[in-house]
């Protein structure tokens, strides 16, 4: 039967009321029109899929609005968002300062990227975690888990694609940085604007860039730059993973909040959000320092264990909060 797969998919991801009102009539039209020829059938399919997309967008929007309106969860989520913004506001200049210490002042593209990436993450990570936290805290409406997971998946996919595009667009710059490291550009030259330096060194950049990719020509400095860029790529991916930790700790906070409502609770939740990112950063630094002694530089070993540890701690906290909190009467 035409549209059966679409019907099953729609029923699986949407609430029954939304499906019956928006998607079911579109599928019924599709089934009706499929008898009128291939072209009509294609148009009807496109219409049904657009209807499904509109229904998903409606549900996600209402879930996010409900999350913010829910008094207890709203009290936990809003200060957490503020705390996340503050964390990133503190972390960004710190990252730039570190970069400026290592890179030359003409690397303003890098400084801009350093501002952009934390900004994007700061605004989208909590968005992905909010509905999941709400559903895990047991305050979700029927079907909201599906919407929450869909939203989180959409945000994470968008971030991953954006990250990939960004890496692709800046690959030339990365290569130039590596090449500049190999060439040991003098400080007086390095203070010139990037475009001027590029114009002057372009032939040499191209000549050496080929060698930079060749392991036989790779110097210790170049290898360190490449390693650093790889680790940063993995760190960004691991930061996406902390969405889960944020959601679980949000759930733990919200579960306790329902029974210990007090003025201080929202601020404890905010403090928890700051702690997530601070602990991730601290664990990463500790891992790097310890493993550096062991001459282990692989990003999989350096970056991912802190993220996994953080999620495990969050799972334990969420389970404990559920066990400790009395059942609502």
């Amino acid at each position: 039967m035409t549209g059966r797969g679409l019907e099953r998919f729609g029923r699986a991801i949407l609430r029954a009321s939304t499906f019956e009102t928006i998607v079911a009539p579109a599928i019924a039209d599709l089934q009706y029109e499929s008898r009128s020829g291939r072209w009509a059938s294609v148009r009807a399919y496109a219409g049904a899929w657009r209807g499904l997309a509109a229904a998903v967008a409606l549900e996600l929007g209402s879930d996010c609005r409900d999350t913010l309106r829910h008094s207890q969860l709203g009290a936990a989520v809003l200060p957490s968002l503020l705390a996340l913004g503050l964390s990133f506001a503190i972390v960004s200049p710190w990252g730039i300062w570190l970069d400026l210490g290592r890179l030359r002042p003409w690397h303003h593209d890098v400084v801009l990227l350093a501002l952009l990436i934390p900004g994007v993450l700061a605004s989208t990570l909590p968005l992905a975690a909010m509905p999941v936290a709400r559903v895990l805290a047991g305050a979700g409406t029927p079907g909201s888990m599906r919407s929450a997971v869909l939203l989180a998946a959409a945000v994470v996919s968008t971030l991953t694609i954006a990250d990939w595009l960004l890496a692709d667009r800046t690959s030339d710059l990365q290569r130039e940085l590596t090449t500049a490291s190999i060439m040991s550009v003098r400080t007086s030259e390095a203070r010139r604007p990037l475009w001027e330096l590029r114009e002057r060194f372009q032939p040499r950049f191209e000549h050496i860039a080929g060698r930079a990719d060749d392991p036989r020509w790779r110097t210790a400095r170049a290898a360190a730059e490449l390693r650093r860029s790889r680790i940063e790529r993995h760190t960004r991916a691991a930061l996406l993973f902390t969405v889960v930790a944020y959601a679980l700790l949000g759930a733990a906070g919200a579960t306790r909040l329902r029974h210990q409502a007090g003025r201080r609770e929202p601020w404890r939740s905010a403090l928890g959000a700051v702690l997530i990112f601070a602990s991730f950063a601290a664990m990463r630094v500790v891992f790097q320092r310890v493993l550096y002694v062991q001459t282990i530089f692989g990003p999989l070993v350096l970056v991912w264990p802190p993220a996994v540890l953080l999620v495990l701690v969050a799972i334990l906290a969420a389970l404990r909060a559920r066990r400790v909190s009395p059942k609502p009467t």
Binding site: E7, A26, Y32, G51, A54
Partner: protein, 104 residues
């Protein structure tokens, strides 16, 4: 003075109400009658919103025994919806500027 909650009606909603003034219609019929103004993908979102506002009602068409597939849905404008449409059109006419008025 008591506050009166006025219903909000968009241009698309008033257009759908005008189409439904002639009687019960399927969503697809509304799309075809609109001359491209209504889209297949969003017509049911609009109709669902109008149903929540009380402007339209809907019912599933009767299917023959053993019929396969989902039943299609028929939409009718409610008396309230038609009243809102009438008021909306009157308001629009009252507020529309004539060329002479526009020149001051």
């Amino acid at each position: 003075m008591d506050k009166i909650a006025l219903p909000s009606v968009s241009a698309t909603e008033s257009f759908v109400l005008a189409l439904l003034r002639d009687g019960e219609k399927y969503g697809l019929e509304l799309v075809e009658a609109s001359g491209g103004r209504l889209k297949r993908g969003t017509i049911y979102v609009t109709l669902g919103r109008m149903e929540r506002k009380g402007f339209v009602t809907s019912r599933q068409e009767a299917q023959a025994a053993g019929a396969l597939g989902l039943p299609r849905r028929l939409y009718t404008a409610t008396a309230y919806g038609l009243k809102v449409l009438e008021a909306y059109q009157l308001l629009r006419e009252a507020l529309a500027l004539r060329p002479a008025e526009a020149q001051g």
